[in-house]
């Protein structure tokens, strides 16, 4: 009996590994991925990076222009997140199981959020490129839609988790809907909500670089410009600036999280 269990376990593992291997093989063929080239390209990239990909003294002249673009990108990311958070809070309150007005509204708000969330920001950027062209507004709205969908899901789960008991208690005392929301739900959820907003800002700054590449605005465009014209020293300066900005923001938001959670 004991031996049977182990034999079965071993067989299951074997089947799993074979399956995994064949799916991997299939995926490699379909995507045209070259394993040898992939592995050898890592040391090659490191070698190349050490030889070419660092900022030189000349490239520092471009620093003010790069910082200006960085500021634009940061502002777009923050503005998109905060405005999306306001809408997301509204939708989350309507969509959460504990605070929704009725089941019908709850399902509809969740559905809308699911659509916005599951279309990636890059896809939103390509869709919005038609109306707003190559400006920071394209990036703004793309980030706004993506953040709205994601934050609605995060907020809904937070409200479900945190405020079940207190809502019931306040309902029992006869409190009205709005006093329940403003006196219990929002105060008890505010710390995790801020934590999610900060997380979203971090994510959005990374996505903003990608969107900038696609839509021709912000720091992503600056990188692309120097990268495509083979000015690798300036391109690397852009990367350094982005890394510094993201690490700074992560530091600040980790501090805020430590204090409020």
């Amino acid at each position: 009996m004991q031996a049977d269990i182990f034999a079965k376990k071993q067989r299951n593992t074997l089947v799993f590994l074979v399956l995994l291997g064949s799916v991997t093989f299939l995926a490699m063929i379909m995507t045209d991925y070259n394993a040898v080239k992939g592995i050898t390209s890592v040391p090659k990239a490191v070698q190349w990076g050490l030889a070419n990909f660092y900022p030189t003294a000349e490239s520092l002249e471009k620093l003010p222009a790069i910082l200006e673009k960085l500021q634009e990108t940061l502002l777009v990311s923050i503005a998109a997140t905060t405005v999306a958070a306001v809408f997301a809070l509204l939708f989350a309150i309507l969509g959460s199981n504990t605070t929704r007005v009725n089941a019908f509204f709850g399902a509809i708000t969740r559905g809308i959020a699911a659509v916005f969330r599951n279309i990636d920001v890059a896809a939103w950027a390509l869709i919005l490129l038609f109306s707003f062209g190559q400006s920071s507004l394209t990036g703004y709205f793309a980030l706004f839609f993506g953040s709205f969908g994601f934050l609605t899901r995060a907020f809904t789960e937070t409200i479900d988790e945190v405020s079940g008991g207190s809502v019931e208690a306040l309902k029992a005392t006869g409190a009205g809907y709005f006093s329940i929301i403003f006196q219990s739900v929002i105060p008890s959820c505010i710390s995790p909500l801020i934590s999610w907003i900060l997380f979203m800002i971090e994510t959005n700054i990374r996505s903003a670089t990608l969107i900038g590449l696609l839509t021709g605005s912000g720091i992503g465009f600056t990188f692309n410009l120097y990268y495509k014209s083979l000015n690798y020293d300036i391109a690397s300066l852009v990367v350094v600036v982005i890394i510094a900005a993201i690490l700074c923001i992560e530091y600040v938001s980790n501090y805020v999280r430590r204090v409020i959670l």
């Binding site: 991997t24 379909m30 503005a79 905060t82 109306s131 900060l198 670089t209 696609l214």
Partner: protein, 285 residues
Amino acid sequence: MEVKGQLNNVSAPAEHLLEERIKIKPANKAAIVIGLTLTVLSLLTVYAFYSFDYKEFDMTEALIATFANLKVIFLEPHLEHFSFGHALYQVLVTLGLAFLTTLFGAVVAVFFGLLAAENLSSKRVSMIIKGMVAFIRAVPTVLWVLIFAVAAGLGSTAAVIGMTFHSIGYLIKAYSESFEELDRGVIEALQASGANWWQIVFQAVIPSSITYMISWTFLRFEINFAVAVAMGAAAGAGGIGYDMFMASSFYLDMREIGAITYFILAVAIILELFAIRIKNKLKAA
């Protein structure tokens, strides 16, 4: 030490009560930081709207045009430049990219995650790896892909390697955190019985955190699908993202964008439903 801290906490409110009334709105550090964060964020938002380059276009006009476009995109989807079968195949290619990056990322991340967990390796090694992870994660995925593209040529190979890099960073963080949650006593008990490091890892650490690892890995797979779409568009990785980029930037065909968007949406929603099912199953087990 923990007990002492708790004792202090117990006695603190009692003294507090004797001295003054309970404050209904305590102005503690957390409340101040929350207020400050919200104020700074709102001010930055206002400033951002003020500083946007609107390029002199009429906002209302642009918004109306956007709604008209969205209506065309979502209500009149139509494939123009390729067939339904081709689109389906491209979706599979994108899924393949996501699968490869997640798999490679997971394999590498298990190893480094073990080294990054403080309870399984030394503090110094853990610090070094965590520092590297922070660095890897700070560089946006698309930049990793483009940097590798110089060495490997623009295409799916560079995309897979670049995306794998970011997945490794993400999964090392997730794995090491779940390894660190393991009870110290378990490791000590195994060490006392003479088990070596590998035995501890395979008999205690991985079995106890496998559920977390699976759900984190699947979450990364979901993210990687979205990233693979984006890399197809921005870095020539192929797949449905590339078709979308062509439809948007070259053919300017909104109906085709609509059709492609529906493909992406369908896959993403299926993946999300799958993730929820996995999560619930793991919770029940």
